[in-house]
């Protein structure tokens, strides 16, 4: 290695350190925005290709089960159609009651759809989506997936893209409830897992119990699904118990997310 090589290495090393230190300054944010804009089109194309590939791969893999499922679903569909009429009446009644109790949180939020175009290659701690400030997305907004399952929070938004920190990241903390609002705790990401922490050992909780957002942290609306209880860990010398949670989302095949914007 020549002296010139060493000099170039140290210049680049210092430049990288400088960028990290000045992460939130205008030049660093401009540089990030510039690279983001350069990457957004090829990443959109490649993620679409990935979704196409993944879709057909799944179909080929599950051809037989899809056929059986189709027959079951056709049967179920007929039964559901019959039930739909009753549900519509209940829905109207429910809306009326929610308005009376001032619980209609969903009416206060607008769902902005976005497609995932980039990911962290080794884990599910972050996503990069193809919708940004242009659509009203901003830093701090909550992100959900299908079935109003919690995904994470927007931590950076450019004109056409946004970076999402997921519930697996250790920085994520969500005020949560279980057992129909009877037990409260704090949901934290552990990198690869999610846990419900700060819960007294005296509180009884069982596997498969649903854990939802409490709405007390001011970020996530109340009632969004975080996951179900996978495992309860109780240690003799501790007054608190730790509960491992399993997200109900299919994280590897996640392609679309919804950003919650206060309306």
């Amino acid at each position: 290695m020549s002296r010139q090589d060493l000099i170039i290495f140290f210049i680049l090393f210092l430049a990288a350190v400088l960028i990290i230190i000045s992460n939130q300054t205008t030049p660093a944010l401009w540089m990030r925005g510039f690279l983001t804009n350069m990457a957004v089109w090829p990443e959109t194309f490649l993620s679409a290709a990935r979704n196409f590939f993944s879709f057909w791969f799944d179909i080929i893999k599950n051809l037989r089960s899809i056929k059986i499922e189709n027959q079951t679903l056709t049967k179920e569909n007929l039964e559901l159609k019959a039930q739909l009429f009753n549900v519509r009446n209940i829905e109207k009644e429910n809306d009326l009651l929610k308005n009376q109790l001032n619980l209609g949180y969903k009416n206060n939020w607008k769902f902005i759809a976005a497609n995932i175009i980039g990911r962290d290659y080794q884990n599910f701690r972050s996503f990069f989506v193809n919708n940004g400030r242009k659509s009203g997305i901003d830093r701090g907004m909550a992100v959900v997936g299908e079935g109003e399952n919690v995904i994470g929070q927007v931590i950076l938004a450019t004109e056409n893209t946004a970076l999402i920190r997921t519930i697996f990241d250790p920085e994520t903390k969500i005020s949560a409830v279980a057992k129909n609002n009877k037990i409260t705790g704090l949901v934290k990401g552990l990198g690869l897992d999610i846990v419900l922490d700060l819960m007294l050992k005296s509180k009884e909780i069982e596997t498969q119990d649903l854990v939802t957002t409490s709405g007390q942290d001011g970020v996530w609306p109340r009632g969004l699904i975080i996951g179900k209880v996978l495992q309860v860990e109780r240690h003799p010398n501790q007054i608190l118990q730790t509960i491992r949670i399993q997200s109900l989302l299919d994280w590897p095949n996640l392609s679309t997310v919804f950003i919650l914007k206060p309306s």
């Binding site: 290695m1 010139q4 090589d5 170039i8 290495f9 680049l12 090393f13 430049a15 990288a16 350190v17 400088l18 960028i19 990290i20 992460n23 660093a28 540089m31 990030r32 690279l35 983001t36 990457a39 090829p42 990443e43 490649l46 993620s47 290709a49 990935r50 175009i117 980039g118 990911r119 962290d120 290659y121 080794q122 884990n123 599910f124 701690r125 972050s126 996503f127 990069f128 931590i155 970076l163 920190r165 990241d169 250790p170 920085e171 552990l190 990198g191 690869l192 994280w251 590897p252 095949n253």
Partner: protein
Amino acid sequence: MIKDLVYILIILAIVLAQVSFLNPAFFGVNLVLAALVALVLTRDFKISILIAWLAGLFMDVNKITPFGLSALVLISVLFSVTLIRRFFLSLRRLRNIAALGLAAAILARLTTFIFLNLEAYFKNGAYEKIGFYFWNWGFLLELAVFPLMVIILFKLLFNAQTETIKFSNRT
């Protein structure tokens, strides 16, 4: 010069493919690092490290880790690989490449852990457990697959023959 530009485009294409096409479900292995290790073993150090720096910044666009961290990790790993290459090239050739790939995979995780937690420690006074980086199946998979990928990329992408890499050219 044109060849260097081609390499820049190849590496950037791999970066985009990794962040958009591959994901943890498909393949949790750092394809970009494998290509860069293969590049630094076959090309000039200056060019390789510049490409690595640029690739790192592009990778960071998709990550929640501080912007610039991947660039720092990639150039540090390539620098280390270049330093330890002298030792490895005194052994049998193909095995050397695999060993360097293995070292690069471990170094990449170690440097990510050190730089990321240094930043987090100075900023928030907190740090992550080292087990998060090394105590999982993803790491074992990477150790198994990464050297193989480096060899394949070394042979195919850069059209390199291990026998033609002259030790004297590296110093």
